[in-house]
């Protein structure tokens, strides 16, 4: 097991390198850079910069070095916790993103929990009672859940809350706590607001999981070992819960690697609609303003977290399924 984990950790290194390259490409892609945008601002203010000033600026931001060198410098910085400098906010990126990333993770994980809590029993029931009214109802709901884009759902929830209850929902904190330091009261306030993004983000994943769970369980229910267990004289439900469900939950675990990026994706847009203090709105803002180090860092960190999710799910899967463990 330890060897398995070490091996998996080693595999993460090339993965993370690949992700860092992708993020760096995103950072470099837009035409222009910090210097040109600074110059544009100067021009807009009616000032001009001399050639020497420009060169000095470029040197200051290390823009004069060739691309690979700049990449390595950026990579080295990240290892030391330095994610670059946000031009727009005039702050180091690392200071801007900490809490936002943390809140994104909180939102994503709580949605994940909701997804499991809903999808597990529904998936089992729909598979065991295949073609029952319940199965059809769940199937229709799941199909709808997968078809409604999460930002639409966010819009609808906001619209519904406003027209029916006259409240405008959004954000993760009440106004009093938005800028307050962390305290028990602030955490409680967060929990009070969390359910909206949790549900909005969880719906799509739940729908998908129910379908996967149902399909897998139907597969497992047909396997000979189920008949063996029934021939032993076990009650049907006991058989189902002990054997096939045990195997069919694997996708829940391996699904972490798929669902987590999905939830981060969802947060990027739902966060904008619901005005959450998560990564989404700041990422969008950074992209709009070509604040590329900020944007690239978000992409890098969210991707790294997703990869971490895959790692965790792989390890959990190995603990759950002896066939993998002994490989």
């Amino acid at each position: 097991m330890t060897r398995f984990i070490i091996w998996r950790l080693a595999l993460m290194i090339p993965t993370l390198l690949l992700i860092s390259i992708i993020s760096f490409v995103v950072i470099q892609l837009p035409p222009g850079d910090i210097v040109t945008s600074t110059l544009d601002e100067l021009l807009a203010d009616g000032m001009e910069a001399s050639e020497e000033q420009i060169a000095a600026l470029r040197a200051m931001y290390h823009l004069d070095a060739p691309m690979p060198v700049r990449y390595l410098r950026w990579l080295g910085g990240m290892l030391r916790g330095d994610f670059g400098y946000s031009v727009q906010h005039q702050q180091p990126v690392s200071e801007l993103i900490g809490e936002r990333i943390a809140l994104t993770v909180v939102v994503a994980l709580s949605s994940l929990l909701l997804t499991w809590a809903l999808a597990l029993p529904t998936g089992i029931l729909t598979a065991v009672k295949q073609y029952s009214p319940l199965d059809y109802a769940a199937t229709v709901l799941a199909m709808l859940g997968m078809a409604v884009p999460n930002f639409m759902l966010a819009l609808l929830v906001m619209w519904g809350a406003f027209t029916w209850f006259g409240v405008s929902i959004g954000g993760l904190f009440s106004p009093a706590y938005v800028d307050a330091p962390w305290s028990v009261a602030r955490v409680l306030d967060l929990l009070k607001h969390l359910w909206v993004p949790m549900v909005v983000l969880g719906v799509g994943g739940t729908a998908g999981m129910v379908r996967i769970m149902r399909a897998n369980l139907l597969d497992e229910l047909r396997k000979p070992y189920v008949t063996t267990a029934r021939a032993k004289g076990m009650r049907y439900w006991r058989v189902v819960l002990k054997y096939p469900v045990r195997i069919a939950v694997n996708p829940f675990i391996s699904g972490i690697g798929v669902v987590l990026p999905m939830l981060f994706s969802g947060d990027a847009i739902v966060g904008v609609v619901l005005g959450l203090p998560t990564t989404g709105p700041l990422l969008l803002d950074a992209l709009m303003n070509q604040d590329m180090y900020l944007a690239g860092s978000f992409i890098m960190i969210l991707s790294a977290l997703s990869v971490l999710g895959v790692l965790i799910s792989d390890v959990a899967l190995a603990m759950l399924d002896p066939r993998i463990r002994y490989d």
Partner: protein, 379 residues
């Protein structure tokens, strides 16, 4: 469906003629006019049609036939394990345990406690696929102990001890270590031994073995078959052996039923069916065995192919492939009924007499049968 088993026996005039595979007082299980249908895209198909036989206590009854003829479905029906889209549409299955009143299995409710006790307790089953018959994510010990705890009021520790003992009995080396292994850590032969151990651990009166060795190597096949035979003798279990290996039948079985397209075409003792076969299908099966070196006595193909259930020929289902078929006789009306030829030997052929005359006596088959012991030399 509320007839008791005794009434059935009483109504069956042939029951008295003992010796073959038809009901008599010594039967541990009787199947009467069993019919199983599957709801498929091509309509409702009878996979098993009007099948009747009886298992003699302490004996081995073999069911042989080409793949798809309904052997497995018949055996599943006995434990009521037929699943949608199939269901038992007719007939009775009666279990007569020692010292207890008979149980009409076909009358039990789907979720009846009695049915649950029967499964794995009185009647247990071994399946064809040792690779998938065990849950891959539970240890073999876990799965056998569970079988004990389901039927016996013993402690976990006792159940475990019994499991180790049973694993030893089926010839698994170092059972106290093997008990905590997962199925994927074992070879196919070992797994099938585990499955046999699990089936016999509660001392069932009947063991149903559905092609228990088909998926195994030839060498292993002989070993597992030998093991089953010796366990059957030791434990005095009655066995329903499903196979398409006539060599195994000659070697192990006491009685035989030959199935074709969901119907039994010939039944009787091994002696009767193998030495003096009367149905053209049985004769064809025996004739098509290669004369020597029957190491892999799988049923070889007979001229023509088995029609699909959805295209069951009218009249005698075998007539398109039968060398004795007579136009206007064999290809019209209902399938021929089972004729009693004496001493419990039955055949479902309209032209038994003519067939017997033209075929004469079959050459002595027994000497051509492979020996389970010699099969080992093959490797």
């Amino acid at each position: 469906m509320n007839r008791t088993a005794d009434e059935i026996t009483a109504r069956n005039p042939d029951a008295a003629a003992s010796g073959g595979a038809r009901a008599d007082d010594d039967s541990v299980l009787t199947v009467e006019n069993l019919e199983v249908r599957f709801d498929t895209e091509e309509g409702e198909l009878s996979a098993v049609d009007d099948v009747s036989f009886a298992m003699r206590r302490g004996r081995i009854l073999a069911i042989v036939g080409e793949s798809g003829c309904g052997k497995s479905v018949t055996s599943y029906a006995i434990l009521r394990l037929i699943q949608k889209p199939g269901r038992i549409t007719g007939g009775t299955i009666t279990f007569r345990p020692r010292g207890r009143p008979p149980v009409a299995i076909t009358d039990l409710a789907e979720n009846a406690e009695a049915l649950r006790r029967l499964r794995g307790g009185d009647i247990s089953m071994i399946f064809q696929e040792p690779m998938t018959a065990l849950s891959p994510v539970h240890t073999v010990g876990n799965q056998i102990v569970e079988a004990i705890l389901l039927h016996q009021d013993v402690s976990q520790a006792d159940a475990r001890a019994r499991t180790v003992e049973m694993l030893g009995k089926v010839g698994i080396p170092a059972p106290e270590r093997r008990i905590d292994q997962y199925p994927f850590e074992m070879s196919g032969g070992m797994r099938q031994r585990v499955v046999i151990a699990m089936a016999l651990v509660c001392n069932p009166e009947i063991l149903i073995a559905d092609e228990p060795t088909t998926a195994l190597d030839v060498t292993i096949q002989a070993q597992v078959m030998g093991l089953m035979k010796s366990l059957q003798r030791d434990l005095d279990t009655s066995v329903l052996l499903i196979t398409h290996d006539l060599g195994v039948v000659a070697q192990l079985a006491d009685d035989v039923c030959v199935m074709y397209l969901g119907r039994i075409v010939e039944q009787g003792t091994v002696r009767q069916v193998i030495h003096t076969p009367r149905h053209p299908y049985t004769i064809a099966l025996l004739k098509s065995l290669p004369s020597l070196a029957l190491k892999k006595a799988r049923l070889p193909s007979i001229a023509g192919s088995v029609p699909a259930l959805s295209a069951r020929p009218p009249g005698c289902p075998f007539h398109p492939r039968c060398p004795h078929a007579r136009h206007g006789v064999c290809d019209v009306g209902n399938p021929p009924p089972s004729e009693h030829l004496g001493a419990g030997h039955y055949a479902a052929c309209l032209r038994v007499e003519e067939v017997a005359r033209s075929e004469g006596r079959m050459p002595d088959v027994e000497c051509r049968m492979p020996n389970a012991g010699t099969a080992k030399d093959n490797s």
